[in-house]
C-alpha cells in the first residue's frame, strides 16, 4: 500500500492530533512545499532546487565554517566549508548535528511572560510588542529609581553579542558581560599580562596562506612542529580549536612528539606518544618544575641543553625581576611535604608523576625546537590557581624561543581579524555620570560605575560572572575610582544565549539570589529576561522569554582563533521558525520600546534608523577587518608599508587598490562587506606570517610598552588605581595572602586540594576523591537535547546507562509549557547520560559496579548523585563527570531531562564562595568528595 504523508496523517487520529503541533506557522509552510517532491521526482530536479550556503556554526564557540544545503527552505545537509582554513571542510559530530537544534521541538518559539513563580517554568504566550513593552517599562523604572548600572546584560556563549551590548551600553549600564567570564579567564591571564593576548595555541592550522619568494601567495600545508604538549586540554573531544584535531595527527605523522598531561586518558591521549596522568590541580607545580629545571640546567654552549633562546630579551622587559622572584622560592620549603619548592622531588610528590618523567618532559621541551606548550580550559582554566599556570606557561613558551615561531605557539588572539567595535563601548566609557556619594555629588563616567573593575574584582578583565550572586545579594560596592563609596543594587538581569543560573557558580546559589524577595513579597531583582533559542534553566527563572533566531537563521561573523587573520560570515540559511527574531531585530525592537517608554538615551539614529536590516550592522563591524599590522616573516604585503595597520578585503590589499595614511600608519583597501564575503565563498583570508612580535613597532604585542612584560604593567596600573582610592585589598585576593595584584612571578595554591594546600590537608582521608570535569561534545549547556548526540557515547563520561523509562515530553509552545500528547518510552541502553567516571580499582575497592548509583558528598555538605562507570582510563582517586550534562532541571533538555535524578552535576558541588583571585573565575575543578553508595 502506498500512502502519502498527508493520507497517513489523515488516517491516524492520534497522529493527526500531534501533527497539529507542527501545523503552525512556518513548519506547515515548509511541509507543504516539501510535499511537492515525491518518489517519482528525478534526482536532478531535486538537486536543482537545492540551495547551498556558506555559513558558520555557533552550536559551540569553535564556530567552524559550514557548507549547508537546503531544500524547499528546510536544511538538508551540513558539511564543512573547505575555503575556511580554520576547519578546512572538516566538522565534528556536534557540527553536523545543527539540524536538530533548529528543528528541535523543545526550542523557544514565541515571546512569553511568566505566570508562575521564578524557576517554576510557567509562562503564557505574549506578542513581541507586549513583551518588549513589559521589559521597557521595567527598565525605565529601574533606570530612574536606581540608575542604569543596576541592570546587567550577559551576552552569553556566542561571539555575536554586539547588538545587545550596544543596546545596553547606550541605555547606560556599564555592566555588559559574556560567557568568556566563566569560560577560562585564568587560562588567559598569563598571555594577557605578558603579551596583551589571550589564547596560546600550537601552530597547527593548515593550510596557511603564505607569501612566497616569487611574490605569489600560496597555501602551505607543511608542519614544522616537533613537539606539542597538551596540558589539561583535549582538542579531539572538547573540539574548541578545530584545526588541533587534524593538525595534531598530521604533525605526529610528520614526526612530532605529542604529549598529553591529563588525569584521564582522553581521546587525545589515546593518539599521543606519551600520557602523563597528573593529579588534578597540580599543573602549576609541573610548569614551575619545568621552568626551574630549564633555568637551572640551561647551557648555551651545549646543543643538548641550549634551552633558553635569549632573543626574547630584545622584545621583553622585566625578565630579571621575574626570574629573581621565581628563584626566591627555591629555598623555601612546602609545609605540606617539607620539600623545596619547584624541585623535581617536590613536584613528584604533588603531581603524582615520577621525578624522572618530569625531568624528561622539561628537558625535551627545552631542547626540542620548535615545541609548543598548551594548557587547557577544564584543566587549568577551571582551577583557582589557573592564573599561575598560564603565567608560567607563557614564560616557558617565550624564553625557549617558541613564541610565534613556525611550529611553535601562536597567541591567536593577537593575530586574528578585528570584527567590530560598534557595541557602543566607546560611548559608555566617555558618557558622563553623576552620583551622590556620601552626601557629595561626584562626576565621572558611566564606565567608572562598572561593577567588577571598580568593585571587588579590579583585575577581572572579563568580569566576575561566577561571583555575581554575591553582588545580587549584597549589592555592588564601588571601592575604587571617582565613585568609591557608592553602592547600588542589581535590579535587572538580561541573559542572552547563556545559562549562568546553571553554569556560573552553583544553581542553588543563583536560584537563591534571583528568587529573593523584599518585605512586600516582590522579587528583589525586579526583572529577569532570557533571550535564547534553547529553553535552559536560566529561562525558567525569566519574567520574559524572547525567542532568538538560531545560528542557521541569523547573521554574524566568525573570526575564531586561527593562526592568520580569517573572517567568515554566518548567514541565515533558512527563515527564522515560529516567531524567532535575529539579534539586530531584537535590539531595534527593544530600543524602540525603550524610546517609546521615554528613555532619552535611546534614539532612532543609533538603532532602527541606522540598522534597517542585519546586514547593516555587520557591514559596520566589518569596517575594522582585518585590523592587523603588516608585520612578520614573510611580510604579508611586501608592496605595502611594514608595520602599518591593514584594513580591507584581501583582493584590494593584494592589488594595491589602497589609500595609505602615513600619519595614522594605516592602509585602507576596499572595505570587507557581507556581500563581498558572500561572493567569495563566505570567507576572507589574509596572509600568515611568523615572528610577528619581532617588528620594531612591537608588532603584535599588545601591552602598553609594546614589549612582552614580565613585569606586568597592567597589574601595576591596577594597583595604582586601587591605591588612589585608599588601597583596600579585594576580598578574594586577601584570601591568597596578597595585598596587591602581583606584578611579576607569583605563586599561590589552588583550593580544596588536600595534596598541595595545607588548609585542606585534613580532608584527605575522609574525602578521598578529587572531582573534575571533562568537556565533550555533549557537555555544553545546550547540547544534550540533540538526539544524535544523545545516542552516541563519549569518553566514559556520556554513556548509554539510561534506565527503561516512560515519559511525557514537555515542550514550550503557544500555551506556555505543555505536555505533548502521547507517552514515549526510552529503552534501557538507548540513550547516553552523564556518568561518573571512576578508576576501576577504586570501584572494586568500594564494592561498586558500573551502573551503580552513588552520591558524591563534599565537605560543604553539598551532594550530587549519578551512576558510576568503572574505567581503566582515569587516575585512581579522581572522579570525572561531563560539565553541564547532568542533573538538568529544564524540560527543554528533552530526554536528558528525564534522567535528571540519576545524573551528576559537578557544578552543584563547587565552592560558591571561591573564585580565582585575579580573574574572578569559578573554581569548577577544585573539590574533594566522598562516595556513598545510594
Amino acid at each position: 500500500m502506498k500512502l502519502t504523508r498527508r493520507q497517513f496523517i489523515g488516517a491516524s487520529a492520534t497522529a493527526a492530533a500531534t501533527y497539529s503541533f507542527w501545523g503552525i506557522g512556518r513548519y506547515a509552510l515548509a511541509q507543504s512545499r516539501s510535499s511537492a517532491i515525491s518518489d517519482a521526482t528525478p534526482v536532478d530536479k531535486v538537486l536543482r532546487e537545492e540551495k547551498t550556503f556558506y555559513t558558520s556554526d555557533a552550536f559551540c564557540a569553535s564556530e567552524c565554517g559550514l557548507k549547508v544545503t537546503t531544500l524547499n527552505g528546510v536544511i538538508s545537509t551540513i558539511y564543512g566549508n573547505v575555503h575556511v582554513p580554520y576547519n578546512a571542510g572538516t566538522i565534528c559530530a556536534k557540527g553536523g548535528s545543527g539540524k536538530q537544534v533548529i528543528y528541535s521541538p523543545y526550542r523557544l518559539k514565541y515571546p512569553m511572560i511568566r505566570v508562575g513563580a521564578r524557576g517554576e517554568g510557567k509562562f503564557r504566550r505574549a506578542s513581541w510588542s507586549e513583551a518588549a513593552a513589559y521589559i521597557a517599562t521595567r527598565l525605565e523604572h529601574i533606570k530612574k529609581q536606581y540608575g542604569p548600572e543596576s541592570v546587567i546584560m550577559d551576552g552569553g556563549d556566542m561571539t555575536d553579542q554586539d547588538p545587545y551590548w550596544r543596546l545596553f551600553y547606550t541605555y547606560g549600564t556599564p555592566n555588559c558581560a559574556q560567557h568568556g567570564a566563566i569560560c577560562d579567564t585564568p587560562r588567559r591571564f598569563g598571555p594577557q599580562v605578558i603579551e596583551g593576548g589571550m589564547r596560546i595555541e600550537p601552530d597547527l592550522m593548515r593550510p596557511v596562506l603564505v607569501r612566497q619568494p616569487d611574490g605569489s601567495l600560496k597555501n602551505d600545508y607543511s608542519y614544522a612542529n616537533k613537539m606539542v604538549i597538551y596540558v589539561g586540554w583535549n582538542p579531539f573531544v572538547a573540539t574548541r580549536i578545530n584545526y588541533e584535531s587534524r593538525g595534531t595527527l598530521a604533525a605526529k605523522a610528520n614526526g612530532a612528539k605529542i604529549v598529553v598531561v591529563d588525569p584521564a586518558f582522553s581521546n587525545t591521549a589515546a593518539q599521543a606518544d606519551w600520557w602523563l596522568p597528573i593529579r588534578p590541580g597540580t599543573d602549576a607545580d609541573l610548569f614551575a618544575a619545568m621552568l626551574r629545571y630549564i633555568i637551572s640546567n640551561n647551557s648555551p654552549g651545549d646543543p643538548e641543553r641550549n634551552y633558553i633562546d635569549p632573543t626574547f630579551l630584545e622584545y621583553s622587559i622585566g625578565w630579571p625581576a621575574f626570574e629573581a622572584a621565581f628563584r626566591s622560592w627555591w629555598n623555601k620549603t612546602d609545609p605540606v611535604n617539607g620539600l623545596p619548592y619547584f624541585s623535581l622531588e617536590w613536584t613528584a610528590q604533588r603531581t603524582g608523576l615520577a621525578a624522572s618523567d618530569i625531568r624528561e618532559l622539561a628537558h625535551e621541551f627545552g631542547s626540542t625546537k620548535p615545541a609548543a606548550l598548551v594548557w587547557g580550559m577544564n584543566g587549568t582554566g577551571h582551577h583557582f590557581n589557573g592564573e599561575v599556570v598560564s603565567t608560567i606557561g607563557t614564560a616557558l613558551n617565550v624564553i625557549t624561543g617558541n613564541f610565534d615561531a613556525p611550529g611553535g605557539v601562536i597567541d591567536t588572539a593577537l593575530v586574528r581579524s578585528n570584527k567590530g567595535g560598534n557595541n557602543a563601548s566607546d560611548y559608555i566609557k566617555a558618557n558622563p555620570a553623576q552620583r551622590v556619594v556620601n552626601g557629595k555629588t561626584v562626576t565621572g563616567t558611566s564606565w567608572d560605575l562598572e561593577m567588577d573593575n571598580n568593585g571587588a574584582w579590579p583585575a577581572a578583565f572579563w568580569g566576575a560572572l561566577g561571583a555575581y550572586p554575591k553582588q545580587f545579594a549584597e549589592g555592588v560596592q564601588i571601592q575604587y575610582g571617582p565613585f568609591a563609596g557608592y553602592s547600588y543594587p542589581i535590579k535587572a538581569f538580561v541573559v542572552r544565549g547563556g545559562n549562568p543560573i546553571l553554569s556560573a557558580s552553583t544553581k542553588d546559589r543563583w536560584s537563591e539570589v534571583v528568587t529573593a524577595k523584599d518585605a512586600s513579597g516582590a522579587y528583589k531583582t525586579e526583572l529577569m529576561v532570557c533571550i535564547d533559542t534553547a529553553y535552559l534553566e536560566t529561562g525558567m527563572y525569566a519574567d520574559v522569554i524572547l525567542p532568538e533566531a538560531s545560528y542557521f537563521e541569523r547573521m554574524g561573523l566568525s573570526d575564531i582563533y586561527p593562526s592568520e587573520p580569517v573572517m567568515y560570515l554566518r548567514q541565515p540559511v533558512v527563515e527564522p521558525l515560529f516567531e524567532a527574531k535575529n539579534q539586530v531585530e531584537i535590539m531595534n525592537l527593544l530600543a524602540k520600546a525603550l524610546h517609546d517608554a521615554g528613555d532619552p538615551d535611546i534614539q532612532a539614529k543609533d538603532f532602527w534608523g541606522k540598522y534597517h536590516v542585519q546586514d547593516d550592522f555587520w557591514n559596520e563591524a566589518l569596517l575594522k577587518a582585518p585590523g592587523t599590522t603588516n608585520v612578520g616573516k614573510p611580510l604579508p604585503y611586501p608592496h605595502l608599508p611594514e608595520g602599518y595597520k591593514l584594513l580591507g578585503t584581501p583582493d584590494s590589499l593584494e592589488a594595491g587598490r589602497v589609500q595609505i595614511d602615513h600619519t595614522k600608519q594605516q592602509v585602507q583597501g576596499d572595505p570587507v562587506t557581507v556581500d563581498w564575503l558572500r561572493a567569495h565563498n563566505g570567507v576572507a583570508v589574509w596572509p600568515m606570517a611568523w615572528y610577528r612580535q619581532l617588528a620594531k613597532s612591537g608588532g603584535i604585542i599588545a601591552t602598553k610598552s609594546g614589549k612582552m612584560e614580565f613585569q606586568f604593567g597592567e597589574m601595576e596600573k591596577i594597583n595604582a588605581f586601587m591605591a588612589q582610592s585608599g588601597g583596600k585589598t579585594p576580598y578574594m585576593l586577601e584570601k591568597t595572602g596578597m595585598s596587591q595584584f602581583p606584578t611579576t612571578f607569583f605563586w599561590y595554591e589552588t583550593v580544596w586540594n588536600p595534596y598541595t594546600n595545607s588548609n585542606y590537608a585534613k580532608y584527605r582521608d575522609e574525602y578521598p576523591f578529587q572531582l573534575i570535569s571533562g568537556r565533550i561534545h555533549q557537555s555544553m549547556s545546550a547540547t544534550q537535547y540533540v538526539d544524535w548526540l544523545g545516542r552516541i557515547s563519549e569518553e566514559h563520561l556520556w554513556m548509554p546507562l539510561n534506565d527503561d523509562k516512560t515519559y511525557h515530553p514537555t515542550v514550550v509552545d503557544a500555551t506556555g509549557g505543555r505536555q505533548v500528547a502521547g507517552v514515549h518510552r526510552l529503552r534501557a541502553g538507548a540513550w547516553s547520560i552523564a556518568v561518573i567516571q571512576m578508576n576501576a580499582a577504586d570501584g572494586r575497592h568500594l564494592g561498586l559496579q558500573t551502573g551503580d548509583v552513588v552520591r558524591l558528598r563534599n565537605p560543604l555538605g553539598l551532594e550530587t548523585r549519578g551512576k558510576v562507570w568503572l574505567s581503566e582510563l582515569i587516575r585512581p582517586g579522581v572522579l570525572r563527570v561531563p560539565p553541564g550534562a547532568g542533573n538538568r532541571m529544564t524540560p527543554g533538555m528533552g530526554q536528558t531531562y528525564e534522567y535528571r535524578n540519576i545524573t551528576p552535576s559537578s557544578n552543584k558541588l563547587l565552592d560558591p564562595d571561591l573564585s580565582s583571585p585575579i580573574t574572578g573565575m569559578s573554581s569548577y575543578n577544585d573539590m574533594v568528595v566522598k562516595v556513598i553508595k545510594a
Binding site: 558539511y79 521541538p105 597555501n219 600545508y221 589515546a270 561534545h777 526510552l826
Partner: protein
C-alpha cells in the same frame, strides 16, 4: 558515469606551496573524475581509513546520518572503540566501520529476492523496491554493517510525528526517497553505499569529506595514481576479518 549527470565543480583553493601537499579532498575529487571517466566495470571504489589519524569524534557517523537522512536505529558508519590494558598502561583504538563492500559479500547470496547485489564498481547495493525486508542479510553480514529501517522518526520521541528535516528526501542510489510510512526505504534493510549518489556527481562520501582528523581516503582502487592507493604504500594495513575471505574494499592503516 551515467549519461547526463552533471559533475559538481571542484572548489578552487590557493595553489599549494608544495604540489605534493594539498587539501586531500581536492586531490581525491580529481581522482574521482578520472575514475568516473572510465567504464563502470573498470573502477573499484574503495576506502582507506588511517587509524592513526582518527580522533574518535564520530563526526563521520553524524555526517552520514545527515547525508542519507537516516532514521533512529539506522547507522551506516559507527565508530567502534576498543579499550584495553589496566591503568596506567592502557590503550584505546577507534574503528570507523562503514560497509566493507566485500569482493565476496556474504549478504548477497542469502537474499531470497536478489535485492542485494554487487555492482560492477564494487559497491554492494540494495534495491529498495525489490527488498522484502526479510533481514536474512543482516544476519549474514559478519561486520554488522546492515540495519533495518523500522519506520521510526526522530520526531516520534517528542511529538509523534516527523520533524521538518525528516521530510527532506534521501537521494540514495540516485533516486528520491521521501521515506513515508508504507513506502521504501521503511521496511527495508539499509547500509552504507559509499554515498553512491554523491560519487555520481564527482563528490566524496560524506564521511570522507567531513572527517575531522582527515583519516579517511576514498577512490578507485584500480587507479595506482589515486591517493587512496598512494597512501597505502609503506604502511601496515589490515582488512576486517580477513580470514573469512570476504575481501573487503575497506582497508585500515595501522
Amino acid at each position: 558515469m551515467s549519461a547526463g549527470i552533471k559533475l559538481s565543480p571542484i572548489p578552487t583553493l590557493p595553489p599549494p606551496v608544495d604540489p605534493s601537499q594539498e587539501d586531500i579532498t581536492i586531490v581525491m575529487r580529481r581522482d574521482l573524475r578520472r575514475a568516473l571517466a572510465k567504464p563502470i566495470e573498470q573502477r573499484h571504489w574503495g576506502m582507506v581509513i588511517d587509524l592513526q589519524r582518527c580522533t574518535g569524534c564520530q563526526g563521520c557517523t553524524i555526517a552520514c546520518i545527515n547525508e542519507n537522512k537516516l532514521p533512529p536505529g539506522v547507522v551506516y558508519r559507527p565508530v567502534l572503540e576498543n579499550v584495553s590494558g589496566t591503568f596506567p598502561n592502557v590503550s584505546k583504538q577507534f574503528l570507523p566501520r562503514p560497509c566493507m563492500q566485500c569482493e565476496d559479500p556474504p549478504c548477497v547470496p542469502v537474499c531470497p529476492v536478489a535485492a542485494t547485489y554487487k555492482r560492477p564498481d564494487g559497491i554492494v547495493a540494495i534495491d529498495y523496491d525489490v527488498c522484502i525486508g526479510c533481514r536474512y542479510c543482516i544476519t549474514a553480514c559478519p561486520y554488522s554493517a546492515r540495519t533495518f529501517d523500522w519506520g521510526e522518526f526522530y520526531g516520534d520521541a517528542v511529538c509523534g510525528a516527523p520533524t521538518a528535516y525528516e521530510e527532506v528526501p534521501s537521494l540514495e542510489y540516485g533516486k528520491v526517497w521521501m521515506r513515508e510510512p508504507g513506502t521504501s526505504p521503511i521496511g527495508n534493510t539499509r547500509k552504507c553505499q559509499f554515498c553512491l549518489e554523491r560519487l555520481d556527481h564527482g563528490e566524496l562520501p560524506a564521511c570522507t569529506e567531513t572527517c575531522f582528523g582527515r583519516a579517511t581516503y576514498f577512490g578507485d582502487l584500480n587507479d595506482p595514481e589515486a591517493l587512496v592507493n598512494r597512501v597505502r604504500q609503506d604502511r601496515q594495513m589490515m582488512q576486517l576479518k580477513s580470514d573469512l575471505g570476504t575481501n573487503p574494499s575497506v582497508f585500515y592503516l595501522l
